[in-house]
Symmetry: C2
Subunit: 302 residues, 2 copies
């Protein structure tokens, strides 16, 4: 695809920084500039060659911008859109990388009502428990999926361009309704993060925390890996998506109440059945991932 | 250390099989024989060179045995001890590899009351979500910890020999009271397994399970890795250790109730504080593991 003239990335951490590096790898942008709350992070991103410069103000950043990507914690979305709205050139595409989509859709309707053809919410399904520009790398999106939740007002050209850009960054692209997106990710991503933070917190506050951690092994390590994730980012996600997340949490609490009843009554057979069902479902899922990877090496677990 | 003349392993799956392979690696046994419920598994273990033979009966297996290791699912412990009791030579050491210890202590007092000097419960902190003899390997215990929970009646020589044997298999050894063991592992191992099985089961039973799994990514994959574990083994562990496990589950349910209240009320700051505490605790733990590994490469995470 033809290189974009100027791309603005707001938030140059793991996701924003990796997006910039993927753009560079593909020769997809003539100029990449960064914006964000922390001057220190922006300077670091310049030093790492992630962005070319970090303008002092939004009018400077947006002048001649082809595309703006918001890759800041999702609670910032509304504020940033409000700040950019007065200075946004009419043909600049606005998109984001937030893990929640209902709140982004709302913020676009509120703050960019005259820019709806060019504002398209997106969610690249990538990330690790590490954060910041030092964690960024050009291959983060290779084989990953990006979910677009287009607005009815989006122009076809905008949706096509953003799709092409993500594909050129190594990802595959799917479209979805924002509510479906938020329910699905509450279940498979937001809830597990909440559960992992909860378990580590539960142990860390005990008098014998040190002893407990001393005997925690590989299972605990993998189970809690996501509790090493960026607290502000995940606070924002949980708050922004709290209705679907509460529904998922309540569903999970019922599951635990059932397991509790099996333990209490010593229902060995039902416990075995439960664990077997779970084991089989997970093994099937892993087998499907591996099959997909073998069939098409560029397609990852999404 | 001097090689044992004959070692009997009951249950030649991941743990028992790896113990055998570690014995072979270290030249620690002249003969290794296997026992178990499944003839097929025993034949497979012979084919893989894990055991030398699989005797037809306990009297044959125990004849001239220096040591018996029980590495079967923990619900089998009592039955196996009952079977071996009448045929056990007086100097044969009996030990196990079960993930719970209170139940093993009880079973020893019940079934081997005349063999208490030589029966010592143990728990190697090793294992993966894989199971069976094909998953066994000689290095499984390298850098891992083995917890011994000696009985007051154990002879010093027995405790010393079993410690030395595990060290020769690559592990480090710590001693602990069985109740402490069971409380600690309920928290850092048994509860996470229950939670992971529960989450996968919760999603697998939904009408849109396929769609949910299709969007599950690396975080979900690691979080649920342990839900791929052997259902019978974990059923037995959860049942055997159900009092401490219920206490841990209830503690965790309080934690989730607290998190639920923060979400419901949109208490952004407290949620951020909670996640930060958890993240810091986990990062400190990982840093300590890495420091220990750098300081002494043979010491693992235990």
């Amino acid at each position: 695809m033809k290189a974009f003239k100027k791309i603005v990335i707001c938030g140059v951490g793991l996701i924003g920084g990796s997006f910039a590096l993927a753009l560079r790898r593909g020769g997809l942008a003539e100029q990449i500039v960064g914006m964000g709350r922390s001057r220190e992070t922006l300077e670091r991103a310049i030093a790492l060659g992630i962005i070319d410069e970090a303008p002092e103000s939004w009018p400077q950043a947006l002048e001649g911008a082809s595309l703006v990507l918001l890759a800041c914690p999702v609670a910032q979305t509304g504020k940033v859109l409000e700040q950019i709205a007065p200075h946004l050139p009419p043909t600049t595409i606005v998109t984001d990388a937030g893990s929640t989509k209902g709140d982004v859709v709302e913020a676009i309707y509120r703050h960019l009502p005259h820019h709806l053809t060019h504002a398209i919410p997106a969610h690249p399904i990538a990330g690790t428990e590490h954060s910041g520009p030092d964690a960024a790398h050009a291959h983060l999106f290779d084989g990953r999926r990006v979910v677009l939740t287009p607005l009815p007002e989006n122009s076809t050209a905008t949706a096509r361009l953003v799709s092409e850009l993500w594909r050129a960054c190594g990802a595959s692209v799917v479209e979805m309704h924002p509510q479906d997106h938020d329910r699905i990710f509450a279940a498979v991503s937001h809830l597990p993060h909440l559960l992992a933070y909860g378990l580590v917190h539960d142990l860390a506050k005990r008098a014998n925390a040190e002893q407990l951690f001393a005997f925690a092994a590989g299972g605990f390590r993998d189970f809690t890996r996501i509790a090493g994730s960026h607290p502000e980012m995940w606070r924002d996600i949980c708050i922004a998506n709290r209705q679907p997340l509460l529904a998922e949490l309540d569903q999970y609490l019922s599951e635990l109440a059932y397991l509790r009843s099996l333990l209490l009554a010593g229902k060995s057979d039902l416990l075995h059945k439960h664990f077997s069902t779970a084991r089989d479902a997970r093994n099937n899922w892993i087998a499907q991932i591996e099959q997909a990877q073998n069939a098409a090496p560029e397609e990852g677990e999404g």
